[in-house]
Every structure is written in structure tokens, then in C-alpha cells.
Amino acid sequence: MKRNFEDDKKNMVVVEGSYAVADAVKACRPNVISAYPITPQTHIVEDLSQFIADGEIPNCEYLNVESEFSAISALVGSSAAGARSYSATTSQGLELMHEVLFNVAGMRLPVVMTVVNRAVSAPINIWNDQQDSISQRDTGWIQLHAEDTQEAADMTAQAFKIAEDPDVMLPVLACMDGFILSHVYEPVILLDEDLVAEYLPAFEPEFKLDPKNPKTFGAFADPHSYTEFRYLQQQAMNKALKTIEDAADEFYDLFGRHYGGLIDTYETEDADIILMAMGSIVGTIKDVVDKLRAQGVKVGVLKVRSFRPFPAEAIKNAIKGAKVIVALDKNISLGLNEGALFTETKGSLYNTNVNIPIIGFMIGHGGRDIPMSTMEAIVDEAKKVIDSGITVESQFTDLKEELL
């Protein structure tokens, strides 16, 4: 089917990022939504509740649960019973779910959950960074990060497509930066429900809880077989590398929008300096790249969309011609003094034939603003690495010495 995507632009509406995501969830025809309100995720679940109240999501039950722990636990049951299942949370709520996240992934239940990224307590802080989702790195969930509100909405449909792929059958965290994306009003194209139906067929799992065909879910595995369950989860992650790319390509074919698959690049072809990042900060970096390119600085940006599975090969291919790599992280592994994107990129390049210096900056913790001037200063540091090598491998950005 050929569509005139230009027509879509006429249909753009100015809505809040949360509304765009909630509307996308609706278009994906979930059967069970289970959530607990928490800032800055609240607007998504409020919008979904209103859709339910207005009868706009047929064949769907919305559970107002008593905690995030039960929000995600209810989806263990609903997904195992064959229902397309959705939740949204952030920060403390995501941390509270931690135990269940392993369980959902281990049981191979294709739940999709939006994470509206927020800092974690203490000190308590409701503003954006990505420590919450990064801390779920090893739970076995696919983890995708959106750059803007349109991508966050579109990523919701892609997330279900990826999760429910029979070769994958893994849950997906679809991450969007708190406030920066969740509370901003921007023109977006809301997802057309008929097109989504074409993109995302009904969820028909091979196995489900069914009295006519009784199966046991959640059996215990002793040392004889536990290893193989873990191995198969990793195999599914490997397969997801392609599925994520395919989901992005198929989405482009139907909707005319593309944000990259595992990664996306901007001005990296001939770049000496490549900045890597995830989420909304990528938009700021693109502006910095434009400004510096005009000044003759050969700089580009590599957007990492998929943090899990980690696209080591795609990253390696994208950066291999550069002279220095800078990883920007809205998170930190305390005790290592590195952000996750930095650590993992560095680690995945070791033992390869790509030997490029890489430095890391931890940035934007707890919603600290990231002005273009900060980014330019970081590029200046990167230039020094090209000239004289690494002096500081990984560091905090914009520290206020007077507060220390």
C-alpha cells in the first residue's frame, strides 16, 4: 500500500507527550492495563483511564492496583492468559517492580511498559535522568529509548510488535524522558488505529492458561535445566537485534516515519568526534552538531535506541572511522564512576579491531538542565583527546563546586 505521508502532516495535532503515548497504547488494542500512578508517569495512566471511561478501548480491563509490584504482577497473569498487557511507571515504581521484571522476562511474557525516566531516591527527586531504567539492565527486558514524543508514541506500537514476535517473546521497556518528553506539548501525528491493526496483528501466543488445554507456567528449574533457560533468554535477545530493526523498517513502510532501529546516526559519516547518547538529549546534541559543523568541526551524534539488547556491532560499525567517542550518560554506576553507555561501549569495543579512545560524561542527573554550552565544552574536551590522548576517562559534568 502506498500512502501519501505528506497528508499526515496536515493531521498533526498539538498534544502532550503523555497523551500521544496513551493514544498509541489505545491504538494497540490492549486487553489489560494495570498501573499505579507516579510522577511523571501519571498523565499517561490518567489519559488511559479516561479512554476507558469513555468506552474508547474495547475489550480491555483497566486495573487500579495498590502498588507497582501488583501492577506488573497482574500482567504476569494477564499475559499468561493470552491478553495483550500494558503498564507504565517510573523511578521508585520501577525499582519496586524489580523482582517481578526478572519473572516476566524469565516466563517469556511479552508485556510492554512505558518508563517515563526519572531519578531515583535518595535524595528524592521527581525530575529526569535514566538511572531507573538503566538499573533494570539485567532483568531480561528489551530496553528502548525514544528521542522525542512522536518517537515515544510510535515506539509503543513497535514495542508490542517486537515483544510478541514468536522468535523473541520478551517484555519491552519503552523509555521516554520524564517531563522533557512526557509533559511537553508538541505537534504529533496520532497513530491511525486501522494502520496499527495492519502493523500489529492480534496477540495469539502459542501457549496460554486455558482449562481446555492445561499447561503449567512458572515451574521450578534445578541445576539440571536452569542454565538452558538463561541461555534461551539470551538467544531471544540475539534474535531481537534483527526484530527491532525489522519493526522499525515495517513501521516506516506503513507510517512513513523512521527513527533508526537499534541505533540512529546524524552527521557521523566523516565525523572525527562522535557523541553517543540515549533519549531526548539527542535532540540537543543535533543542534550542537549543526552549530559546530557550521564552524567546521567534524562532529556527529550516534543515538542508541536499544540499550538491551546492546547493539555492539551496529555501534562499532557506526563509529569505526572516528578519532574519539564521547558517551553521555544520565546515570552512574556508583563505585565505578562511569555511566552505563560508556562502560558498555568501551567493553564491547575491547578485543575488536576498533581501537578508538572513548571518554564518558555523566550528565543531567535529577533533571539538571543540559545547555548547548555544556555540550560544546564536552566537544572541546574531546578535541583535546584527539590532540593529546585521554587525561580523564569518565567524569561528572557541570558539578557545582560551591555545593560540595
Binding site: N59, V65, S73, L209, N213, F217, S225
Partner: protein
């Protein structure tokens, strides 16, 4: 009809869980889905790749049993597949009264149509007899042991049925695996009543309580006959039935059969503790009109 809980599971001889699960399934029939938390029942019935369940069964975690059950109910309703299927959450006392309390409270408050069966063997048996909120007064467990200056657990059982009544459950009942007809009738009623219903089944554990594997039913009966475990039904918040015990036996008859109360018969001051336990039984007679 094939047994819905297949023989060959790994339960101990005289296991209360197997008995409770068997009675529950006899009542519910094959059109049901069983949800079970981490614990003996799940471990002994589902060692991969084997399963004893001839009904759909799901185990997720220790503390989320009722939440998982509520999700299944929501899924079936959303997809128009609910029909006459019974959703039964079956968990031990630790998973129910302690670590799963939030999840069961939320599921009952939300009013899901399911039945929760608590298999109460009065301690964390799967991990080796540690004290739970359901451990009775003066019982010795591995984390509330009797010792030179202790008679064991110093607190009475948490009154879980009352908590579930307070949630507005239309049907809350106590039962005992020592009374198969009583348990099967009550589970059947519970699954037939619409809304969240609660069955609390007193279930003696041969290894945890310390009695011979042939005595499970005898011990269960004695708990009822001494009035330490009253069998009653609460419908829409009102006490509608309680099993009469014409001539209650002294609590010593029940206590002396069990290793967990042995210290009460050997330690100085143990007789005073037994008097306090007798007082608990007497209070049950009064409260539930057992005579």
C-alpha cells in the same frame, strides 16, 4: 475422571498441601485456573519438565499471588473468555498473611471474581519451619524457638479471616483438611459466589509440627475438636454458620501430639502457657457459639 492433581508429586508422606489442593480441585472441577505462590505446593508439584497439574497452573513469585490471579481474571473478562472458569489462588500462610498481604488486600478491594484458598500450616515450612504471622501462641519454630528463657512464639495468630471480612468479601470461611466434606462444600460455595471469596484451611504439616506422617488428619481434627480452630462461615460480613463442638477436648490432647509444643510439657511454667492456650480455645467457643 482423571485426578486433577496427579499422583507422583514430591510432597512428603502425609503432606497437608497435597490434601488441601486435592480437595480444592475436587470442589472446583476441571474448568479452573490455579495460581500458586512460591512455596511447598509449587515446588513439590512442578519440577521442570514435570507437572502434577491437570488444570492450568501458574506460579510467579512469593508475594504476588492474588495480583497474578486478578490479572488472569481481567484477561479472561476482557477477551470474553471468562465463562464459568474458576480462578483459584492457593497459597500458604506466609504467602497469604505476611509477604503477600498487600497483593491480596488490593485484589479483594478491587473485587475480582476469584477464590483465595489459604493453606495454613502455621509457619514457613518450605524453608524449614520459620515463624509466620499464622504461627500460634507458644509454638516453637526455628526462628521462634523455645529456649531457656522462651516458650517460643509469643504472639497469637493473625486473624486473617476477619481481615478478609473487613474487605467486604461476600464469603469468608474457615475449614480444615481434617474435614473433607466441609472443605469441599466450602470451596465449592466460594467458587460459586461472585466476587473475591476466601477459604482459610487449617493444614497440619507433619515435618514442621512434628508428628507421625500417618497422623495429619487426626491432628487436624483435634484442632477443631479442642476449639482451637473453629469452623465457621461469614456471608456478607455476618456469621452464618459455625460447626458445633458438643464436648470440646482439652487443648493438651492436641498439643501433646506435636513436637512444636513439646516444651510446654517439659519446661517449668509450661502449664501456665497451656492454660493460656486453653483460654484461646474457650474464647473461640464463646465468640463463635461453638456449643
Amino acid at each position: 475422571m482423571k485426578p486433577l492433581l496427579q499422583a507422583g508429586h514430591r510432597g512428603c508422606a502425609g503432606c497437608c498441601d497435597a490434601i488441601a489442593a486435592k480437595f480444592t480441585l475436587m470442589a472446583a472441577g476441571e474448568d479452573c485456573i490455579v495460581v500458586s505462590p512460591t512455596g511447598c505446593l509449587e515446588v513439590m508439584t512442578t519440577p521442570y519438565p514435570e507437572s502434577s497439574w491437570n488444570v492450568p497452573f501458574i506460579h510467579s513469585l512469593f508475594e504476588n499471588n492474588a495480583a497474578v490471579a486478578s490479572g488472569i481474571e481481567a484477561a479472561l473478562k476482557a477477551k470474553g473468555e471468562f465463562g464459568n472458569t474458576k480462578i483459584i489462588a492457593m497459597g500458604g500462610d506466609g504467602a497469604t498473611l505476611d509477604i503477600g498481604m498487600r497483593s491480596i488486600s488490593g485484589a479483594f478491594e478491587r473485587g475480582h471474581d476469584f477464590t483465595y484458598v489459604c493453606i495454613d500450616n502455621e509457619a514457613y515450612m518450605n524453608t524449614g519451619v520459620q515463624r509466620s504471622g499464622a504461627t500460634p501462641f507458644a509454638a516453637s519454630t526455628t526462628t521462634s524457638p523455645a529456649g531457656k528463657v522462651s516458650f517460643g512464639n509469643i504472639r497469637p495468630k493473625k486473624n486473617m479471616p476477619a481481615i478478609m471480612v473487613a474487605h467486604g468479601s461476600p464469603y469468608v470461611t474457615t475449614t480444615s483438611i481434617g474435614y473433607p466434606k466441609d472443605m469441599i462444600r466450602k470451596v465449592k460455595k466460594a467458587v460459586d459466589v461472585e466476587g473475591p471469596t476466601y477459604v482459610h484451611a487449617h493444614s497440619p504439616c507433619t515435618t514442621g509440627w512434628g508428628f507421625d506422617t500417618s497422623k495429619t488428619i487426626e491432628v487436624a481434627k483435634l484442632a477443631v475438636e479442642t476449639c482451637l480452630w473453629p469452623l465457621y462461615e461469614m456471608e456478607d460480613g455476618e456469621l452464618t454458620k459455625a460447626k458445633k463442638i458438643k464436648n470440646p477436648k482439652p487443648v493438651e490432647d492436641y498439643l501433646k501430639m506435636q513436637r512444636r509444643f513439646k516444651h510446654l510439657f517439659t519446661m517449668e511454667g509450661g502449664d501456665e502457657m497451656i492454660k493460656k492456650i486453653q483460654a484461646l480455645a474457650d474464647a473461640n467457643i464463646e465468640k463463635f457459639g461453638l456449643q
